[in-house]
């Protein structure tokens, strides 16, 4: 697999264990004073990027200089971006600011979000079980399902995300309108998280991403902030879907849906709790679950600047204001019949099936795997159970597993090593009392 949405720079890494300790899938080991990511276990949640105090775990988002590679550039901002500059700043001011920092054009995805919410509603009335269905919006969730809950792949709603579908249509439209070849158009997402960057590098449900890259909100924040502060003539600002804008926060996807039989889950522990229960046959009376790795959905993404509480409030205020301006508060304008017929024409469909990503078991042969499992339990008994992570694995259980997999040694444990040294310095004879 290619890169992830983040990378650990070995020159900056001092080999502390902060990232390994916070990684929810235990995908990081520190060896020879450098942290390394076990690629197949990583779900790109960005916890390591947040935890690193040495700027070693960094996003692999596109540098702004990537814009120069294209004849015509389009910014496709995450809806989260609209809530980053205070509640008085309108989305169209943010879009204009994006053109001022170098994009030729911008594209708002709030209508596409409202459309896909309506398509999901239609899908729920026409599809079969297993229930509940699970949203594909958060790429880190999709990856978590692929590696940890493969049985739940059947529950995933097989409809494309607003960002990919928008980029697909836009590229087609622009190349016809402007007479440009599709590869001359550079469409960049403005991303709140590393997970979306990874979904562009390693797409799921489609062969290749329709996006050419993603710029981190952090990287473009300062110039955008300045541009939004300059006085500008007021604009109508009714080109946005207030319902769609809600997707920036947890609960927003279902807020615009007709089906009331829905649930929002956020944050790794809660997501795991709910997914474990779905696997055990629970939550079957729920139709649809929107799940996010981040605690408040995209507004709390690791690459945002505005704190999540302020960002939430900003989005809510903006939605309120735009709904008032649109005249029909909270009402969308997407035509449901149209969406339903588009759904039947497979307009929204994922291009490929989402497949499980199998984690290597202890051994392929069952007997061998069981023997190793026993060995792991025996090794664990010798370990101190302090989960200090000084060995480079996040906890004692994981070290024991690494040892039986042949990837670590018992004396990687500092407590064992001290015991061994003491034994060598003051050898005790057999049967001698302490």
């Amino acid at each position: 697999m290619a890169d992830h949405g983040h990378r650990i720079d070995p020159d900056q890494c001092i080999g502390c264990i902060a990232c390994a300790k916070v990684c929810p899938t235990k995908a990081i080991r520190v060896r020879d004073d450098v942290a390394g990511v076990i690629s197949e276990l990583c779900i790109d949640c960005g916890a390591c990027v947040r935890a690193c105090r040495y700027n070693a775990a960094r996003p692999t988002t596109s540098p702004p200089s990537d814009l120069k590679k294209f004849k015509h550039t389009v910014a496709l901002p995450s809806l989260t971006l609209y809530g980053q500059f205070g509640k008085e700043v309108d989305p169209d001011q943010v879009l204009r600011a994006l053109t001022e920092i170098g994009f030729d054009r911008t594209y708002d995805i709030s209508w596409m979000c409202e459309m896909i919410a309506a398509a999901t509603d239609a899908y729920l009335t026409e599809c079969r079980g297993p229930w509940p269905k699970i949203s594909v919006t958060c790429p880190a969730i999709v990856r978590l399902i692929q590696i940890r809950y493969p049985a739940l792949l059947e529950n995933i709603v097989p409809l494309e995300t607003p960002r990919e579908l928008s980029a697909k249509l836009l590229r087609r439209k622009l190349s016809t309108q402007m007479g440009l070849s599709p590869e001359d158009i550079g469409i960049f997402f403005i991303t709140p998280c590393t997970a979306i960057m990874n979904s562009i590098l390693n797409p799921v449900g489609l062969d290749q991403s329709y996006l050419d890259g993603a710029l981190s909100i952090r990287d473009v924040y300062a110039p955008l902030f300045r541009a939004t502060r300059e006085p500008r003539p007021a604009e109508a600002g009714d080109g946005f879907s207030p319902r769609g804008l809600l997707w920036a926060m947890a609960g927003g996807e279902i807020a615009g849906m007709r089906s009331a039989n829905t649930l929002t889950v956020r944050g790794v522990p809660d997501v795991e709790y709910v997914f474990d229960h779905i696997e055990a046959g629970k939550f079957q009376s729920v139709d649809f679950i929107e799940a996010y790795i981040c605690p408040d959905g995209c507004v709390s993404g690791g690459l945002t600047v505005e704190g999540r509480y302020a960002a939430l409030r900003n989005i809510q205020e903006i939605v309120k204001r735009l709904s008032k301006r649109a005249g029909i508060p909270g009402q969308g304008r997407v035509q449901e019949e149209k969406v339903r017929s588009l759904l039947r024409e497979h307009f929204f469909d994922l291009e490929e099936e989402i497949k499980a990503r199998r984690i290597q078991p202890l051994a392929d042969d069952l007997r061998r795997a069981i023997a190793l499992k026993r060995e792991q339990a025996a090794i664990l008994q010798q370990l101190p159970h302090k989960d200090c992570a000084a060995c480079g694995a996040p906890d004692c259980v994981t070290l024991a597993e690494d040892i039986v997999r042949g990837e670590a040694a018992l004396d990687d444990c500092v407590f064992i090593k001290i015991q061994q040294l003491e034994q060598r310095l003051h050898p005790r004879k057999e049967g001698e009392d302490e």
């Binding site: 049985a151 474990d276 229960h277 055990a280 046959g281 069952l366 795997a369 026993r374």
Partner: protein
């Protein structure tokens, strides 16, 4: 099943405390994680998880205490759940969907739809139940590996 196929390759036991709703589902989750490490097919894990969760909740709701034992056999995974508790007076009745003795409090927590035992049977390839009123219940269910 031939005797060689009954060889127990791995046995793990988990204690279940009656009335301990707070930790409900923990034994089922731990069984799942062991089977995952062993590379057992996800479909088998899912079916067993459904059965285990139901069985575990039955112990928590109706028994004083119990135990869940996971057995990995060469061509199957088996779970034996034994409890010390009130027992089931009429097993045939309890195996019918919709039949439940759950209290209103249990129903308020989302249990007691009367689907527990039938659900375990539906999700396993072999199913046995025995119970003595005033002593307890023993369930044994098996899913074949292919």
């Amino acid at each position: 099943m031939p005797a060689a196929m009954e060889e127990i390759l791995l046995s793990e036991r988990f204690r279940i405390q009656g009335n301990d709703f707070e930790h409900g589902g923990e034994a089922a989750t731990r069984v799942k994680s062991i089977l995952r490490d062993l590379g057992i097919d996800p479909g088998v894990i899912r079916r067993l998880s459904i059965a285990n969760f139901e069985a575990e909740m039955n112990v928590i709701m109706y028994a004083d205490e119990g135990e869940m034992e996971l057995q990995v056999l060469p061509k199957a995974v088996r779970v034996i759940v034994t409890d010390r508790g009130q027992g089931i007076p009429d097993i045939e009745m309890a195996m019918q969907e919709g039949w439940s003795t759950a209290t209103p409090e249990m129903r308020a927590r989302g249990f007691g739809a009367g689907l527990g035992l039938p659900n375990i049977r539906r999700n396993s390839d072999e199913f046995e139940i025995s119970s003595t009123v005033g002593e307890g219940t023993r369930l044994r269910y098996t899913i074949h590996l292919n």
